[in-house]
Symmetry: C3
Subunit: 304 residues, 3 copies
């Protein structure tokens, strides 16, 4: 399985993931060619702002000796405002760069762009669609802590709209023996499409509204942000906002060996007092994000 | 003829153009020093957004081993908002960079800036003024397809406000034996100043509203965008919008050897179905844009 | 005295300043390793725009062989808009970069950020707080013209809110024998906190509204911008705006050996006719800004 673009978590099978993770491991240890991508240019083409993701990709490129050109707000500033189609923009940027990192507000934008691109497209988030490199770095982080089997991963928060949760569930479902627990308000449960998919793969999963139960036996607690605007009433929002919070008290009720993850940014769903706990690994995720993106770049440029 | 700044197409004579084009040709073939501009810094100073042009210059600089610093929206973000004059900004950026690529909304801004700059200024578009590097890359693209003589170049669209058309006409008029045909609604005809200039140089040119006739015997069909806001009435706009469109049907009525060019971005004035036709060379223009800008940079830094 | 972050002018004593200035001197003469910071990445994290300062730091980094990642408008574009705290952002960017240049609208932001950062933070302005690198480059510029003793430095303009004036006064007060004269409308006089500080250090200083007297015997005339919005009435603004202006006429009444400085941007408080006078050194300040920032970077990375 060789892929030319990174569009969706669905493109990755266990073999390819293992290849990427071995590479990531080597990079983490500093065992890589710091000039592997010398002479290569990345274009970060962001149709909606995401400074964090953009800087992560750009930092990854620089660490491999590559360079980048960048636009922070393609939608407002570029030819798009003059009515240019995405395919034209992609074809133009093909002359400027050797790889395009694309962030777009519309689901499917990256897949569409890839059809018109001779250089690799990396999906850095397409609306409510996917954000595959986030899912891959999350999976890498989990496997850097646990063996691939017999672990329980509990995902909490907005499971309807959280594309991170969908892509990560999808990747986890490739590994038999992993149990998934989804904890959310009923109104923000995982989509039925994802449920059917997990069922068809005979994945052991559970849905619950009970935060306490969901984390008790979890090995991985994957917390996400709940956005106010997803709720019908302010009252309902306050109820869940106040319930699904990880603080030092909660830490007493989870496994000693558990880890707490978050795709960031967080607001208050993990209290800051938790940061210094060794089980809190969300800033480790950020660091792994650089390594995984470096690995994916090396792979796409056939330097892996 | 040696130039220190690139402000206007008028600075270029045949000899200098030939020098630049020979250099461009060598770059296109990869025969250039990839570290020619090592240690040099370009500042892209954009007072109005033009992601496409900015990225093109930045990519050109990187390919020569140079680096860049950049501002995407100088007018809103910089000291300009505090009332700083352009000349002060230019003098300040002289301490930061070895060449300044300036995009400004006011005609004449680059010429003015050049008076205060010890480092080369490259005009990347000054309002309805000029965009000389676009004209030079267009000319290079034409000459990469045809000999310098006995060709007909038809320019279509908004010929009143289209600075690209003016600068390109100006450059083409340096070469005897080229026939120019201007096809536009009467309300958007070429300015009388340009007409007098072409007449005084004894250039063979024609004006018409008849799209079909204008392209029939053309070797180069240079299509441009017509902006809605240029028309007095919506009705008039619709009329021309619907008429001056190049699609597969139109292709049947043009020369087999003709080429179709466009400065981009396009909206619908060239149908997407035309893209795959070998006569459509607008994306080749984009690629040539990088090479020509690299050549100009080498020239300005005396590395040519 | 070793410092890890550059947060405030108060961190610098005479010995450290001398060290930085010797380094700056060497850099100015081109005697430095152009690859000293190869492999290092700077993040310029600007929560309010300041193109000038940002480009100065980025240019300094590039000249030392380093690279940078950048955000021009962190407040609007980044996770901050989603409610992320500054400490989280800093911890995240720690994974992306080896040094963070922070511009923030809130006084104290850099000091706060430094508490959470493993990589050096450089304060590039925090609201009405400090802008230490500006003060250091100003001091360097003064000492490049005069011995450390027996000079009169006159500062003019908005002395209440001008953070540059506060930090520079603070640094100058480390050197006995320097006389400070503060010339401003009463409503915009230096804060009493600064006055007590200068008194406690036995610094010779004077306050006046009399522009003519203040500059007559000055060796250094440090002019600053007065912002319209600081005044209660339009009339009062016009009065001072019209009075505190340096033009060719004023030059007749100052010392032949005096120098005229300004942190820039200026509006009309120094007439453009003054620029060509050899006593006008404000553009020299800009150039020194690059050298001083390079020196500080080398120092922070222990390459000094």
């Amino acid at each position: 399985m060789a892929i030319k673009h990174v569009i969706s978590a669905r493109q990755f099978d266990v073999k390819l993931l293992e290849h990427i993770f071995l590479l990531t491991e080597r990079i983490k240890k500093g065992r890589y060619n710091k000039n592997a991508l010398a002479g290569k240019i990345m274009a970060t083409l962001f149709y909606e702002p995401s400074t964090r993701t953009r800087l992560s990709f750009e930092s990854a490129m620089l660490r491999l000796g590559g360079k980048f050109i960048s636009t922070e707000n393609a939608a407002e500033f570029s030819s798009a405002a003059k009515g240019e189609t995405l395919q034209d923009t992609v074809r133009v940027v093909n002359s400027y760069a050797d790889v395009i990192v694309l962030r777009h507000f519309e689901p499917g934008a990256s897949e569409f762009a890839a059809k018109y691109s001779k250089v690799p497209i990396i999906n850095a988030g397409d609306g409510e669609g996917e954000h595959p490199t986030q899912a891959i770095l999350d999976l890498y982080t989990i496997f850097s802590k646990f063996a691939h089997k017999n672990i329980q991963v509990t995902m909490i928060g907005d499971l309807t709209y959280g594309r991170t949760v969908h892509s990560l569930s999808q990747l986890l479902s490739l590994y038999p023996g992993i149990k998934l627990v989804f904890c959310s308000p009923k109104a923000l449960a995982i989509p039925s499409k994802l449920k059917s998919e997990l069922s068809s793969r005979k994945i052991d999963f559970e849905e619950t509204e009970d935060f306490g139960m969901s984390i008790k036996s979890a090995d991985v607690i994957y917390q996400t942000r709940i956005q106010k605007e997803r709720f019908k009433s302010q009252k309902e929002y306050q109820k869940y906002k106040g319930t699904y919070i990880i603080d030092n008290n909660v830490l007493k009720n989870i496994k000693k060996s558990a880890v707490i993850m978050h795709p960031l940014p967080r607001v208050n769903e993990i209290a800051e007092e938790v940061d210094s706990n060794r089980r809190a690994i969300y800033f480790e995720q950020v660091k792994n994000g650089i390594y995984v993106r470096m690995a994916l770049l090396l792979y796409l440029f056939d330097k892996a």
